[in-house]
Structure formats: C-alpha cells, structure tokens
C-alpha cells in the first residue's frame, strides 16, 4: 500500500487531525539500531472497543469513506510491524487523545524505505488544520524541531506559494544538516 515510512507517518498524523486534535506532536528518532516514531495527539481518542476494531483492516469508522468501510492506515502499520519484527503500541482514551509509539528495525530487509521526510513535513505542516503541530527529527546525536504556530508567525499563511517554497527550503536545509557526516 504505502511505498515509504514517511507515507505511513503522514497517514498517522492525518488520523490525529481527523480526530480533531488541536495539539499534535510527531517525534522521529533514527539510530543505527532503531527507528522510533511517536505521535501524540489530544484528539477525540478511541474507546477500547474502537481501538480493537481499528486494528482490523476491514474496518473504518464509516464517517470518512462513505463508499468504503475499510481503513488502510492502522492496519498497514500493524502489518508492517508484524512483517519486520517491529513493535506498535497505541494508547488511547476516549475524549483525551491518543499516543502511538512505534519501533522498527531499520536494518530489516522487509522494512519499506524511509522516503522523503522534507515533503512529508511540508505537506503535514500545510494540511488544513487549525491547531499546532510539532515535528522533531533526530538522527543519532543531531536533531531539529519545527513548530507550526511559530512558522505561521514568521511566514504568514503557510499555504501561499511563497511561504511553501521558503518552508521547504528551511526544512530541507535542516534535513541536509542531519544527514551530513
């Protein structure tokens, strides 16, 4: 389904947005031995029974896709974890939000490629949603983080072409710095 880890991350953050979260944080940590991803939101959360159903590939809440009752986001995540010996923990409380903690083995041959983090971050930062989103990306000892409200304060409307171009330059320069050896 998804070609890359970054697509998978996009889908999970979109789930938080769709759950009416106003505060979302995405934390991605890469080391030689681990790829850790954590997404915390203060959205509507899930009851225990909804969470159980959400792991089922043949279920989606029926609100979003009227013509399709099959969610693809979470099942794909669980499937990827299962195939590659990774680990997924989702904690959720109805009315209080959801925390997803994921650990993958970056060396596993069946793990999808990482993908383009810059594009994922730019699209998530400019996806229509009013709250705040914080993204932190660490690679070994280096890291950087960006915050949506701060970027809006500097750039103005993030969906303007000019803002988008500057935002992409900004994130990609931070990504390059991470990868620099």
């Amino acid at each position: 389904m998804h070609a890359t880890i970054c697509d998978l991350i996009t889908d999970l953050v979109q789930n938080s947005i769709e759950a009416q979260a106003t505060e979302i944080s995405l934390n991605v940590e890469e080391t030689k031995t681990n790829l850790n991803i954590a997404i915390v939101d203060n959205g509507k959360g899930m009851s225990a029974s909804t969470l159980k159903k959400a792991k089922d590939p043949f279920w989606s809440d029926g609100i979003k896709h009227k013509h399709r009752k099959v969610g693809l986001g979470l099942p794909f995540l669980f499937q990827t974890a299962e195939m590659t010996g990774g680990n997924v923990a989702i904690e959720s409380e109805e009315g209080n939000g959801t925390t997803a903690t994921i650990t993958f083995d970056p060396a596993h041959v069946d793990l999808p490629v990482f993908g383009n983090f810059t594009t994922a971050a730019v699209t998530l930062m400019t996806y229509g949603f009013d709250g705040n989103l914080e993204i932190r990306h660490c690679l070994d000892e280096k890291e950087y983080s960006i915050e949506k409200q701060e970027l809006i304060e500097i750039l103005g409307d993030l969906n303007d072409l000019e803002s988008l171009i500057l935002l992409k330059e900004y994130i990609s320069s931070n990504e390059e710095e991470l990868r620099k050896t």
């Binding site: 697509d7 996806y127 500097i154 072409l161 320069s173 931070n174």
Partner: protein, 129 residues
C-alpha cells in the same frame, strides 16, 4: 545549502514580501487543491505536490495557494487535483503525476487553457462531498 536559522527564514520572508508589494498587488490568486488521502498518497500525490512547487517557483508564478484535502472519494483516479484560476471554470484533474502537475502549471495556470486529456468528468456533487 547551509542550515538555515529561523532568523534567516524571517529575513527571506520579509525580502519576498517587499518584492511582492512592489508588483501590482490586485491580481486574484489561483488555487490548487491536492487530494492527500491515503489513496492519493499511495498513487503519488506527494510527487505531484513537489512538482507543483518546483514548476511554479521556476516559472516565477506568484499569487497561488496550494492546499490539501483528505479523501476526495475519487480513488480510482488518484491523485486528484482541483484547480481554480480566476476567470476560468473550476476543474478537477485525475491521475495527476509529477509530469501532469507541470503541464497544469504551464498550460492551465500560465497558458489559461485546460489540460483536457486529464479532466475528470464532473461527478455528481454528492460523490465529491
């Protein structure tokens, strides 16, 4: 590229703003809406997004807004993109890969002519919403 600081980002933005107010500011802006649902992404919507940014930037187009929506319910023709240029009919394009995105910029947004081989037949309103 050296790592950009927030301060540098702010300065670049201010410089751009100045440059923009010097130009004629009463042009209405064009709008591009990209379907970034699960299917759209699986079909390559992010490649289309990058291509739009790159092509618009390199052709010095300004006054454009790019937004995203989740599922447009048009899976079978993802990636789907809606384009609204003032004075032209609002159109939905289907199967927009990076190449088609670049064509939409040059032919539709700059050339003011529809990219007719990618127009998605206007579906009944209830399918879209």
């Amino acid at each position: 590229m050296a790592k950009m600081t927030l301060e540098e980002l702010r300065n670049l933005r201010d410089a751009k703003k100045k440059e923009m107010t010097q130009r004629d500011g009463n042009e209405k802006s064009a709008q591009i809406i990209i379907g970034m649902g699960t299917c759209g992404i699986a079909a390559g919507a992010k490649g289309a997004f990058d291509a739009f940014l790159d092509e618009l930037d390199s052709r010095n187009v300004t006054d454009t807004k790019i937004t995203q929506t989740g599922c447009m319910g048009l899976c079978f023709s993802e990636p789907t993109v809606e384009v609204d240029v003032p004075g032209m009919p609002r159109v939905i394009y289907g199967n927009v890969d990076a190449k088609v995105a670049r064509r939409i910029v040059t032919e539709h947004i700059i050339g003011k002519a529809l990219v007719s081989d990618h127009i998605f037949d206007k579906p009944a309103a209830d399918i879209i919403k």
